[in-house]
């Protein structure tokens, strides 16, 4: 039941566009206490069905920029392999600590980050 409630909360937050993983992973680690790698894989799997549905809607609404997205995807795949291998080579405690630092930075960005001001002229 705890897990379903955490999923519910993370779903509400990601439905509002705030990034559910930033809530899902720490909430699981703090309340359900799985190993850090497990918590991370829950979020990765959790993201797939939701992202497919949202992506289809965004493509239909012509909000996806393929010219910009495709080259980023290609280099991103290299990054994903590197990042995953790095995560799997670490022990859970170290990974949890690094994740905590990343979460701290994301939290600060949520509080202090501002959307870009409209540029007057695009040079």
């Amino acid at each position: 039941m705890t897990v379903i409630l955490i999923g519910l909360a993370a779903g509400i937050i990601s439905g509002m566009g705030i990034g559910g993983g930033a809530i899902l992973i720490p909430a699981l680690v703090i309340f359900v206490k799985p190993e850090q790698h497990i918590a991370q894989s829950v979020n990765l799997l959790f993201f797939i069905p939701t992202a497919i549905v949202a992506l289809v809607i965004h493509i239909k609404n012509k909000n996806v920029n393929f010219r910009m997205g495709i080259p980023i995807v290609i280099s991103g795949l290299v990054g994903a392999v590197l990042g995953s291998k790095l995560a799997l080579s670490m022990n859970g405690t170290a990974l949890k600590c690094i994740f905590g630092v990343f979460l701290l930075l994301m939290g600060l960005y949520e509080i202090f980050g501002k959307g870009r001001k409209k540029k007057v002229n695009n040079v």
């Binding site: 509002m16 705030i18 990034g19 720490p26 990765l44 996806v64 994301m106 959307g115």
Partner: protein, 123 residues
């Protein structure tokens, strides 16, 4: 931006991709948190198009990372399916609430939660 040439633009694509991929694979989340502001600030993308394009970018990266987590047995289906059930319901609620709540204030509230969770995870 000092450079506006083609090479500079492709260099930015590559850097954004690798950074988003490494974060997403290493932390099981956060790729979008990096990709969205990077596209807005470095590539002059519109905010809502950057959000939509980030999904196109993160989805394949997530699938690659899931493969590595799966083959290393870092997946707990019992936690995952419960989180997904909650997440689907929550996602619908969140999308509904999006037009009713000011997300600016919510971001700050969740930012504080993220920082508290981060501190708990680090120490």
């Amino acid at each position: 931006m000092a450079f506006s040439g083609r090479t500079a633009r492709y260099l930015k694509y590559i850097l954004i991709g690798i950074a988003a991929g490494v974060a997403n694979g290493l932390f099981g989340s956060g790729g979008g948190t990096i990709a969205v502001p990077a596209m807005v600030f470095l590539l002059d993308a519109e905010e809502h198009k950057a959000h939509a394009t980030a999904l196109l970018i993160i989805l394949p990266l997530t699938i690659v990372s899931v493969y590595f987590y799966l083959t290393n047995n870092y997946v707990d289906w019992n936690i995952t399916w419960k989180a997904m059930v909650g997440g689907v319901v929550g996602g619908a609620i969140g999308a509904f609430l999006l037009n009713k709540c000011p997300s600016k204030i919510l971001r700050k509230i969740f930012g504080i939660f993220m920082i508290l969770a981060a501190i708990r995870m680090i120490f």
